[in-house]
Symmetry: D2
Subunit: 341 residues, 4 copies
């Protein structure tokens, strides 16, 4: 018998095209079989990836009628036979790339939202190894923003050549990954130069600890400006969340031998890259979110430092479509969450 | 008083343009001051970089009338006061990037041949910290090929994400770096796929241990072929010595998340790189030869395994210009050395 | 409905004390629930740990009536709903420390044989994440020796300071871990000095690639002898499987700054360690087998190099008690396996 | 002609036994030969090692009549021909282990004070590669405390398994290494538990950022107390500066799989170590100060964070013997420096 009886709400996406294709269904609450846990999902969060699906721009395609969203957090409400990793009451989130524990990413994984049911639901049955405990001081809405944006930012700062205290990272704008990168960098003693489009956002970035902020509208050559701000040496890493439209400036900003962390597909077009701009310049490395080990390492820092992720706004579950539209407006700062209460 | 009295021959390059601008001078043999050593240079070797200077294609420019060549090996013949690192009779080579010991490359270094006197001379006075001992079993001609091509290949296989035994590397052609990469990889249990232009060279590559050889004339889509040969996974690293003309195929060959080691400027033109070919693909990392630590690590393996570098031909010192021309012919396999006996 | 119907044999250990306390039971074949797989266990293998339980010397204690043995290999015969990691027919083994994927070892794990059912059975239902695929060229008996001895040896050679090609490792005797360490080291280009008690075993060790073998009966001061054999520098690692009785010699053998990998509890008594023997000497690190990542890395090398583990003898399942007694005799070389056919 | 003419004061130690064996000599100021620099030594500092020499307890022995002290800082006043690494006016300190750049420590080095002239002098001629630039914000007295105590503490926190932000380190007492470890740890986001003997010192440790302080007089079982303070998990590292007298408590404090960094020889006697206290417990690693790379990495953090080393007191050069006696009193907190002005 399940710990939780009755029904629950799930939101499903009929097909690509529009947030209007989201629909609510009532489904039976799942129960834990042997070795499984059931999570009462308390909150979820949106990422640019979710919007890309609506816009039919998501590279891997998607299956119809899945529950969307890769990111969610909640509480363990049922523990199947033989589970030792968690107990009822533990607060957890799912790792973005389900079965990636460490090392090379597995190829057989079925991403949440695009190939398997995601987190925009009230209850979710899980293999406990695909979950991590979230820091105690976070609300569920805050915790729900960790899996994609948080781990991506962590991985961007680490990887095979982790930044050291005293190094400098350049972040672009004030989306979820960039704000996480800024906040995590400061916990690790890393200096931050941020770009932004407005003085209001600049003020917020400063409050979060940015050492320098460049308004890219006022300074279109912000890559060179960032380099100047490091005494001409160049930044040690760029958390490159935009892509084709910014990569040329990013290449100007970074010190030879250091790294561009490629995350971005916020832009679709821009000048192509000349081999000789790449050669002799920084390394490039695509960040595909990260492993469970990355997530756990990040959580240790967030927990220990009581770092609070920046949640711009929280939508109730029945206004999920509004949340998508707000994400598309690009008027937010940090992360957008959905409450499942 | 110097251990070695009298005069020596040096070859100097008057200016860029042609190997005809090389000239021989007779100079006094230097003597060791406190903390210095004098090396009797027994051999040197040529790299594509040296040819690029002649062709006025070397990016950093060059000073006139310097002794060319970054690579040389010889015997310590004099040891200044207070030197403990070496003794008379020790067999040494200079690290390519003089003052690079480990970590980030120093910016103040003055490269051999382009900004300071190189190794095409009979005696050279040195700070002993800029030298490493070479493996006992190597001739001086063989040892003289280690500093640039050997260390570059070593660094390409290592770096922040070193290849493991059982991984696969793709090498392009049969120049010095590629042949070193093949030979070193085999010592480390790494599988090798090599490309080449002729069946004769293919045979030599196989003899040196290449697991697979692709004739790129017969298989212009050699990048996809290399991927196929790994069961569709992709190679774990490409030692990309050519550049613009091959990078598109290299990107096809490599597994996402693995690495393109950018070394090559053998070609000057090719299709530009689309951001979305780079994003989601392999990391790219420019190899700028390597540190003294890299050199010493490589030497441990070469010494322990009695690995013998492939020297295609040895020119006498007074035919240095011929050696340059032979390098330009691209008919060689492995390295070209100059004997200073 | 289960893929496999009917009953199977399991062997259980009533209590510590003697191999006579093993008894055979007939049990229903388990079936896979959602997210699970069923393994037809084809072989298992014994480790010193299993013997220590019989002798009431196992530090963590044990529960009565469990199925013993931490090591087994078999074939997937049933795959539960939603499993993507494996398919029916895949050949697998379990990781020794079930839920250890990478990083720090989890504290909540319940070891096979002592706290949860082990592998001396015909069928076993598992969370697929706790299994790894085994190399194709291995028999099940060979594959069954990988989890404890193989991974321990791999971890001893790696860890935070992995040995490099050209380094030297010292192995003690010809038990499972030592023979694996010898074989794996040779695949990685690492030199091996082995100790042994007889000329016959010395011959076998040489055949497996040992560069030097020391007979410790003839050379009681084998630690200094090993150091001598490295030209007085010291070995770079000792795979210390014996413990109190050998640690003093091991400390003599190893180079300052290098590492003693502590595995051994084959001996219970010996001289205590003086702080000043430890200080200024090698690092010490206890090897607690290893993570799934370690296991997968090792398998890559074993598969790629067609390395064949040394199985001394194979007992049929109904002679399991004999296998324990043979292990206790210390007359074997390498590993002892049990066939479940 | 030297940049600096005339004479300078040096202090030399006639022989072991007592600070009374120190004597002042007037010597010619050295001048830089090719490739050398001259440092005007502005300050030096004392370490326990220097006291051990007086007490005839220094393991490597010492030569008579050398200039003592391994640690000093000053200004470049002359630059020999061909030096690019430094310019006149640069502020530098010497690395403790002269020729250790990275990787394994060289065996041929001649330590300052025991086998070659140290830093208790007004001018020193040096190979510039043996020097590092010191952070701008430090006085020379502060900078003079970096080479031994600072780098040792840095290495203790790093090494092959560097601590992460959110980890916990245990430091013992308030000597130079311990206070540096505390200060550096806090810059890196690492938690610190410190032991001390008095409430007054406890207050200072708290002011420097110690998260918890244990008075070891009041809590003789401080190892278990430290473990308790981590919620029973154990600390991730002990900076073990005392040795035989404290190692048993340190072993109680540390989490299995984490590390004891062995530095200490402050005590000479204590209970010997049982193999089974070491086995299954933390790794042990002897810290022999560190490489130039370690020193430069540390300086990046100290410079970036404006970290100020704790100098307890500064003695004038002609009261060097008093400085030794004060060190022996064990009444200080942090470091003792000598001003050479």
């Amino acid at each position: 018998m399940a710990a939780q009886e009755g029904t629950m709400r799930s939101i499903r996406l009929e097909k690509e095209g529009s947030a209007d294709n989201l629909y609510t269904v009532t489904e039976p609450i799942p129960s834990a079989q042997r070795g499984e846990v059931v999570v009462r999902v308390k909150a979820s969060s949106l990422n640019f990836r979710d919007l890309a699906m609506l816009k039919e721009e998501y590279p891997g395609g998607m299956k119809p009628d899945l529950i969307p969203l890769s990111d969610g957090a909640g509480e363990i409400v049922e523990v199947g036979e033989g589970v030792r990793r968690f107990q009822v009451g533990d607060r957890v989130a799912g790792n973005f790339t389900k079965e990636w524990f460490s090392g090379r990413r597995p190829t057989y994984t079925e991403p949440y939202g695009s190939h398997s049911d995601g987190w925009l639901t009230e209850y979710k049955v899980m293999n406990p190894e695909l979950l991590v405990e979230v820091p105690d001081h976070l609300t569920f809405e805050q915790a729900a923003t960790l899996p994609c944006a948080g781990v991506t930012a962590w991985n961007a700062l680490h990887g095979p050549s982790p930044l050291m205290a005293g190094d400098t990272v350049l972040t672009l704008g004030s989306g979820g990954v960039s704000v996480y990168a800024l906040q995590l960098a400061k916990q690790l003693g890393i200096n931050v130069i941020s770009t932004t489009s407005s003085n209001e956002k600049a003020k917020k970035l400063k409050e979060l600890g940015a050492d320098e902020v460049i308004n890219y509208n006022e300074t279109p050559n912000w890559g060179e400006k960032a380099k100047e701000l490091t005494g001409g040496v160049g930044v040690n890493r760029v958390v490159e969340v935009v892509g084709p439209a910014t990569i040329q400036q990013s290449l100007k900003a970074v010190a030879p031998g250091d790294e561009l962390s490629l995350i971005g597909v916020l832009s679709r077009t821009g000048d192509k890259i000349d081999y000789f701009d790449l050669f002799g310049s920084a390394s490039t490395r695509t960040i595909g979110v990260g492993s469970r080990q990355d997530f756990e390492n990040m959580n240790q820092v967030i927990a220990d430092k009581n770092m609070v992720p920046v949640v711009d706004s929280v939508f109730p579950m029945d206004q999920a479509a509004e949340a998508y539209r707000y994400l598309d407006s690009q008027k937010f700062f940090g992360k957008i969450a959905i409450s499942h209460d």
